[in-house]
Symmetry: C2
Subunit: 383 residues, 2 copies
């Protein structure tokens, strides 16, 4: 029996994860759930999955949830710190971190300290604090299980050889909805257009990140930490159909790829059942039905975001945290119609340029860099 | 130090294998080589690789070789039985069986009996005597290492999961040079046209088998024995670029593929260095350079050979041996311009129809079925 905590159970990944747990049946049980403020859906999930504890970060939503759910059947925690408590709970074997943003970091570290199996759908914990997270995981003997479809694909493909035999990884990128837009047209893109992703159904922030390709920059940083890579060992290939989720190239020239229809239930379930594979509620892939797969070199001129990812991997220290924080501010400003889509990368890059990097930062130094970057990025938004 | 015997060192696979051994260097040494009759190339290989023993099947070529090569430096065996002796030699750890045809069978079994590591580039040993070969290998604890690019791809991809989690394998097929020919045009194909394969450089027999797709039928049978599969667990997909060498689909829906440019040195080296991977003398794959990969359902009407493969897997017994033998006769007749390309499958199928199948055949019964099928197929050739 695997007892599962899902941090961020009301988001896109969280909801998919609950579907996976339901389809897996007997051996998997949800014992803890959390949401930021979606108390109505959480109440429904409590009724459906009967966890022993839930956490809700927003205090006002906590009050609303308490009126709806009987505290006889479920313990309800509230506030920012509740996530750490949830993740390190005694009746939890496995934590799925599916929260967006750097807010996931304390709970991630708490789960590792308690030697929980840890599946990471949250990018930011690795992006901003990759060195701290991976060295603690290695010290505690905790294997980090990636849930991003790209990193899950690399993780699976790596099983066909030894880590020491790896030459490079090849991250695939759909290229987002504006893959074929000329640079000028990108300037006039509206939030509504940017929120329509061609192949993946995801949350707002990550969908905008996919449109700018900052998402791929974050994944480059993630890949560095998950697989211990140098910048030149990470390739990006545009693959609009999102069928090959990513690849590895071994030193003999053999390339191993993991493929499937774009469906997050596949990597979520793989993390849950690892090292086993169980029948999953996903449609099988038929390549003849698709007909063809295409591949392009990424256009670094139209999509300069990738350069930022490589730069963050090479420079290290607090630079990735600054990239992440400045981008978050810029994405919000774009969704608020205060800046253009094409302003996001320059604002982020400018903030990185002005940052005084701290090497091997402590958690405090990372959070300070994050804070500084947000303020600095905000200063550069139009009033 | 791995001491290697290459049976069939003057053929296409054998020559590639020698190139691989040369590039691997120090830890790999060729101690035994064989050829059917190409004594001139064998003499050259003896000078280059200094094996301790060689075998040459054809007696006349043996005399010519002996005049060229000093028997002080190398022991020379002659005749059919010399292959068995070579394969079971004391200074051999690893046998690469790269002979075409059922003639490889006795040496294959001899190598297994002596617990040599065994790499199979020869299809026929498994096709005609799969049950005998695999049960002896399992009894002796010998792992059979496939060298066909398709089966090597499946072997590698299977490392990403457990055998019990496998749903099916997907063999890719280039479709051969006549993939887009209408049925009528196939009738007028000359041996010269059929010998031009679009993606792979191979011997004559296998190139014709690729044009009729009988090669894929033989690979379906091979896959059955190598991976313990039922007919419905083996799919064939036409993939003209021959970049994805084959795939496996696990029960969670995840598809793992092995890819590379079409170059036999890759699967040959993988078998040699297994379970390790070493740098190989092959050009790296760049998907953006290729642009696209395409996939089609095989057209069973224009290429009825695939049906024969599935039929042989389902019927079992001596039927696969009959398929193989009748096809060999028909291919020879086509190369001699006695029949048309489109006659090969009907002649083979007719021979299968008229065969009285023997279940769980002994080696003697297999050889008798092989003999019977050759005579039966010959009877049905035009005078």
């Amino acid at each position: 029996m695997k007892r599962i905590a899902i941090l961020g159970s009301t988001g896109s990944i969280g909801r998919n994860a609950l579907e996976v747990v339901r389809s897996l049946g007997g051996d998997y049980r949800v014992t803890a759930l959390s949401t930021h403020q979606n108390w109505e859906l959480l109440a429904q999930q409590v009724a459906d999955f009967r966890p022993s504890r839930v956490a809700i970060v927003d205090k006002e939503s906590y009050r609303l949830l308490k009126r709806k759910v009987s505290t006889n059947s479920v313990e309800i925690l509230a506030g920012e710190d509740s996530l750490e408590e949830l993740a390190s709970g005694e009746d939890v074997d496995f934590v799925l971190s599916a929260i967006v943003g750097a807010a996931a970091l304390p709970a991630t570290l708490a789960a590792i300290k308690e030697k929980k199996s840890l599946a990471l759908a949250n990018k930011e914990a690795l992006v901003v604090a990759g060195e701290i997270v991976t060295s603690l995981a290695s010290k505690m003997g905790v294997k980090l299980l990636p849930v991003d479809s790209e990193h899950s694909a690399i993780f699976q493909s790596l099983l066909a050889g030894q880590r020491s035999e790896l030459r490079k990884v090849i991250l695939t990128a759909s290229g987002g909805p504006f893959r074929e837009y000329p640079r000028e047209a990108l300037r006039d893109v509206t939030p509504e257009q940017a929120l329509k992703h061609p192949t993946w159904q995801m949350g707002k922030k990550i969908t905008i990140d996919s449109a700018t390709l900052i998402n791929k920059a974050l994944e480059i940083i993630e890949a560095k930490w998950l697989f211990g890579l140098e910048a030149q060992q990470i390739d990006v290939v545009i693959h609009p159909q999102s069928i090959i989720h990513s690849m590895v190239e071994f030193q003999d020239g053999s390339v191993i790829a993991q493929m499937g229809l774009p469906d997050m239930k596949l990597p979520i379930q793989y993390a849950l059942t690892y090292p086993q594979r169980r029948p999953a509620p996903v449609e099988p892939l038929s390549l003849p039905k698709l007909g063809g797969l295409t591949f392009f070199k990424p256009d670094m001129e139209r999509f300069p975001a990738l350069r930022l990812g490589y730069r963050a991997v090479s420079e290290g220290g607090t630079i990735p945290a600054v990239l992440n924080a400045a981008n978050e501010v810029a994405v919000e400003a774009f969704l608020d119609r205060r800046i253009k889509l094409t302003d996001i990368v320059p604002i982020t890059e400018g903030t990185m340029d002005r940052h005084k990097k701290c090497e091997h930062p402590s958690l405090g130094e990372i959070l300070a860099a994050d804070q500084w970057a947000r303020e600095e990025a905000r200063k550069n938004l139009p009033k």
